[in-house]
Amino acid sequence: MKKHLIGRPVPRKEGRAKVTGQARYVDDLVFPGMLYGATVRSRVPRGRIKGISFGEGIPWHEFTIVTAKDIPGENYVALIAHDQPYLADGAVNHSEEPVVLLAHPEKYLLEEARRAVQLEIEALRPTFTIEDSLNKKEIIWGEDNLFKSYSVEKGNVDEVWARADFIVEGEYRTGAQEQLYIETNGMIAVAIPEKGVTVWGSMQCPYYVHKALMALFGLPADKVRVIQSETGGGFGGKEEYPSMIAGHAALLAWKSGKPVKIIYDRAEDMAATTKRHPSRTRHRTAVSKDGKLLGMEIDFVIDGGAYTTLSPVVLSRGTIHAPGPYFCPNVRIRSRAVATNAPPHGAFRGFGAPQSIFALERHLNRVARAIGLTPEEFRRRNFIQPGQTTATGQVIRENVNMNHLLERALVLSDYHAKTARFARENSGQRRKKGMGFASFMHGAGFTGSGEQYLASVVELEATPQGRVRVLAASTEIGQGTNTIFSQIAADALGLDYDSIEILKPDTASVPNSGPTVASRTCMVVGKLVEAAALGLQQTLVGSGYLPEGYTPAGFERACKRYIESHGPLKSSSQYQPPPGIHWDDATYYGDAYGTYAWAVYVAEVTVDTVTFEIEVNDFVAVQEVGKVIHPVLAAGQIEGGVAQAIGYALYENVVWNEGRMFNSQMTNYIMPTAVDVPPIRVFFEELPYSYGPAGAKGLGELPMDGAAPAIVNAIENATGVSIHHIPVMPESLMEALAVTEKAVERA
């Protein structure tokens, strides 16, 4: 039996179909008699619907028109809370809220019709900022505008202030960010009252859509079928929103009796679908003379937009990551997700952690400066060590060595020599250079007891030809699910890469392996693939068909004989928490994640003081991620994540106008291009994790966390100006530099 695929850059499973154009995305699918659907949106951030009228010049009788009253089941998108309607009924809580759905065979006419629908909405006073929401200027959600709050307590932080040698405070803000997957959101639905509802589309989480459609139509599980079509990227943006579009397409299909396709164009996708939560973090930190953290008090707030959606879980991850990879005996974290009248913010790679880690890694540089240590020395003295506990009381059991990662990253980036050189050469230069870094970690899999609730299942089935099919709801969204599952199954069974088939996620045929989010697909679901593969092997060995040291041909013979005499050969595996993992949701105490990936990122930047533009010139990403299953895909994840984080830090500014995204075009929402992104140098450390497949951990979100603070730390190093928000647009850097110039003049 050979094991030879894990750790090797095998070709992508679906790569050939993608590069030859054979892969079918939802907009490639055409059904006979299909209609196109469109959404009429509120355009008012908060108000009451008084009337809907249909303007002149449109043959309305040809249209299928759906409003809230046409909904057969429940009018909410079933997820965590049941507050977000599929179609506004009475109240409107953000400007992109769907109110009316239209369908017609001709898509151009549909656009004319969308423009001709007039909504009469009585406006109410909206809330747009975290401050206004916290201050309850208006109550726009529930009793207090709070979707969720958490508090984490470790030690007794109240006692440390009196004996601290230094107390450093700071406030940090991060902006919204658009996922910008290449393929916009889209769905096709067929819905026939007697038969049920089937949807095809671009998505990360087929069973989320499944659950939402069951409630929307009041149908049992077997009457709802969700099929993932080839998906062109997600980044979290296709975690929850597909449930909305799928429901809309299905409502139109239900009423018209015809298949209905809804594809958002880029402008609609950018404006109406979820973005990363804006945040505000306040830190108060107590430190001793010798540079040890004594206490941390953290107040973390995220703007959830108009409805709950995933905010409680985003908040949870942001909260747990807020104290970073450091040991501190006394910690208090208070966190809140607040309502505003913006379209709901949602999942985006990193899921709350990039926000709180930005704040922390900027703040620690400030703390280091206040106590007179270099940023690296201050961190060295405080990195968490094996055996120590995190803020939630989790004992670090793995052999974490953040000091080693830091040293390696500083050497690889030539940090010390360059900082010294830039300090010498910057003065009098219009282009100033600087170095900065950030140290951080990212928990893999669902937070707390999340994985236990999910209780994911994967099934493997062997054919008489000795081929093995993987049945899972985990989606390929460009990140490599199909490829790594094949590597894992093939190695566990000693088979060739090509003898593994990955079934397309279809809720009628695959078990629920959970959502494709939270860096869990490789570590959690991959482990189930491995376990199910071993189960398959045991069945064959146990039944006497498979000898020790078998060959692929022997495997094929065994499958054939087994199936002939016993019927289908299947094996399934369900998630079991690693031994000794405990989490208490009530006290927010325990093992927040099974394990973490650890990293240190270093950025080199140039700040042009003529144009205030900032350029990242070099980027070193060092991380410990357990066993690397596929080196090219893994490095690709890091490079892509860092590029996305460079956008988050320096380019991508959502301009809000009365709660609507004003710059919902790629022309004016500036993401970095290939020429703006530097070489990203990726280095892995591999400490195998016992509960991941072949020792792998999660890594997809990790690179989103550290790049922004590393870059802003580098800006400070280059200019001496401490900036506390992202994105650092040239306009805001100009203001920050002007403030400093004034301060210097006064002094």
Binding site: E111, P730, E731, M734
Partner: protein
């Protein structure tokens, strides 16, 4: 696609004459469509209010670059790709080549035309500052004849211009009088490619020892039209390059431009960066000394 496609009409006349006749017969009904790189964006967004277009893309009368001892004359359909590839333009009109290189991506450079850039009338367009610095002239033709107008003065306000509905641009002419002038171009758009200018600066100066004998400057995105900064030029003409002259010029520039806040940037940023670019341009004149034969091309930097 947010436009109702059946409501639009496109014709493709086989000759310039036929095109001009159509424009003459039904002025304001038909408009030219050249590379379509501005028009198609509006079309996609459902914002193209005009409905009838005539494609001029195939008209050979509007193509080609002609070089005479006095002028380089560019057909209206000259694309950014063609601008960059032309040896005489590279040598004598580097600001235009750099503008072309920094316009859009390769696809846009292959389709986008100079006349389209001019008539689209965006204050953020990147070639007009270079054209103004080079004292470009424009030939407008109609069925009734043709006229040459200086490019300076062509735009009369935001998206308004001296072009009549029955006219189209046939050629753009650049006098070959700027040899030996120092040249500077910088487009500021936050990212390095596919950017819409927040500020764009083109400048050229004729130096004699340490004195600015003559100077041209034009800026994009700081006024309703791409602006030739004649008052700032006047403040610098015949001046020795010095810190005092720079400071005075920056003040005049601040009076001359009228930047605004919009979704892309702020008035304060545009003003400050415009001044900084002016300073960078002037410092370059100073740093390169007063040697007239030396072409200190910022344009050659990238």
């Amino acid at each position: 696609m947010r436009s109702y496609v059946p409501a639009y009409e496109l014709r493709a006349p086989q000759s310039l004459e036929a095109a001009l006749e159509l424009l003459e017969r039904e002025p304001d009904v038909w408009r030219p469509l050249a590379g379509g790189t501005d028009l198609m964006v509006l079309f996609e967004a459902g914002k193209l209010t005009h409905r009838k277009f005539l494609s001029i893309w195939k008209l050979s009368e509007l193509k080609g670059v002609e070089v005479t001892p006095e002028h380089v004359t560019l057909g209206a359909l000259t694309t950014y790709t063609q601008v960059q590839a032309h040896a005489v333009l590279q040598r004598e009109f580097p600001l235009l080549c750099q503008a072309a290189r920094e316009t859009g991506g390769i696809a846009t450079q292959n389709r986008g035309t100079l006349a389209g850039n001019i008539v689209n009338g965006s204050p953020a367009a990147d070639s007009p500052p270079a054209l103004l610095v080079y004292d470009a002239q424009i030939e407008l033709v109609s069925a009734r004849g043709s006229r040459w107008v200086p490019y300076q003065g062509f735009h009369t306000g935001y998206k308004t211009m001296v072009l009549r509905p029955e006219e189209i641009i046939r050629r753009i002419r650049l006098p070959r009088t700027k040899q030996g002038w120092r040249q500077y171009y910088r487009k500021v758009g936050t990212r390095k490619a596919q950017a819409i200018s927040k500020v764009c600066f083109a400048g050229s100066a004729q130096m004699q020892h340490n004195t600015i004998r003559d100077i041209r400057m034009a800026l994009g995105s700081v006024a309703p039209i791409v602006l030739r900064c004649a008052r700032t030029e006047a403040a610098l003409r015949s001046q020795k390059v010095s810190a005092g002259a720079f400071a005075a010029a920056k003040e005049v520039l601040a009076q001359e431009i009228t930047p605004i806040d919009d979704m892309r940037s702020t008035a304060a940023y545009r003003l400050r960066v415009a001044q900084n670019l002016l300073e960078e341009f002037l410092l370059q004149l100073q740093n390169n000394g007063g040697d007239e034969s030396h072409r200190g091309l910022a344009a050659a930097e990238s």
